[in-house]
Symmetry: C2
Subunit: 269 residues, 2 copies
Amino acid sequence: MEDGEYIKNPTNTVNRHGKDYAKYDADLIHSIVNTASVLHISFVPDPSDPTPIILPMIGQMGTYPPSSSSPPAIYLHGYVSSRLMRLGASPSDSFSVCVCATIVDGLVLALTPFSHSYNYRSAVLHGRAYALDDSTEEGRQEKLWAMELVTDSVVAGRWENTRVPPDGGELQSTRILKVEVESASAKVRDFGPKDERKDLKREEVREKVWTGVVPVQEVLGEPVGASYNKVEEVPGYLREYVRERNIEASKYARKTACAEPPERKKREE
Amino acid sequence: MEDGEYIKNPTNTVNRHGKDYAKYDADLIHSIVNTASVLHISFVPDPSDPTPIILPMIGQMGTYPPSSSSPPAIYLHGYVSSRLMRLGASPSDSFSVCVCATIVDGLVLALTPFSHSYNYRSAVLHGRAYALDDSTEEGRQEKLWAMELVTDSVVAGRWENTRVPPDGGELQSTRILKVEVESASAKVRDFGPKDERKDLKREEVREKVWTGVVPVQEVLGEPVGASYNKVEEVPGYLREYVRERNIEASKYARKTACAEPPERKKREE
């Protein structure tokens, strides 16, 4: 990273058609990772066979120690991943991974199938991954910190509102994968449809085909208590989190649905 | 595939903790792929370097020719993917990929961070990928069919309500990747929280920690017309699609949020 941007290199540089939407801004990339409710991680279990595996995991980017100047890493959690966790259990034993975060913000419906698209935000990060080792006090501290980071990414404030700290057995059977990021890029499409001039000129097409955007957002619904739940009222921090996340996602999806494509704006000036 | 199930092998078999949720039912796997609004595809650009890349793409599974007994393949579209498309341009030139579809259905909030989870449906498929070649009439027919399949996966009925067929230039610059599936598995978690007995016995914990599920669904919002849209009213097929998809997603998320975990059910009998 340099001046808040990931350095372009052959691994992260977005080619050809995609390059209009490519971004290398670190804050943007981190915010996409931290907003997506699920991350996909890919790795190659057997280096002699170029067959990758993808697994969905819950994760979050953060800096440890919190007040340090270390670059943010990705912390991933998922019991899905025993195959993945076996691969690297120390920094010296790390392996190459790709992590992708994608948020769909709208269905972009143009005059022709060719110009159809999604509004979306996606980030692709490359780095080295290994499992946090809790056999040392230092490792245990980072693991506890990462467990709190990931839990609070599911619902802000959730950690301190549950039975914590985790006991020894829980700590031991939770595996956190840390990815030290080496390169990263993002792609963002955030505006209405953009048709080719040849179709925009055809009145009979424009009078027949509805064009526009269907905003898309992930909505958190009304919390449903478990059968063994004894706390009658949904707690404030949870209610607030649901409300705020829904408002934010809805505002963003709506804003991008209404935005003019960048080139069209220029033409109109 | 055999009797509607993908055969278990070392590539698709779900290990350890994940195995309680593992499924190999082909209809389930195909429906997860066809319901997810975005798919992630992973491949290794340079076989001498086990560094995978993940790209988000729009895709759909289908059988071609439509009435044949060929097993369904995955058809992917995305202009993101020039690097990917360069890799294989014919069946003899195919390369190994992994495709993953994930749908988040709920945030599962338990007494302890350790027992937190998501309700989700995910499918992981392995196969060989190559770009459809439109230099032959046969290839051109399959490509057109796949473009319609993918467009209609964005909004059912959209293809016939746009300016079709694509002209020569559009057909040529659209690249469709076909993945012939070799193995696949799914994972589904679809019920409320499940805490450990040791915590369920602690009254002071149960009286303090709210437990339950926050249902999650992707919601399609009110369509927003483009500045150059001339069709005043949102067409019926679009309105209907938005309505039905929202109802279906909401029903599923709500149903899983209210479901008892399988083992608890057994204990209660």
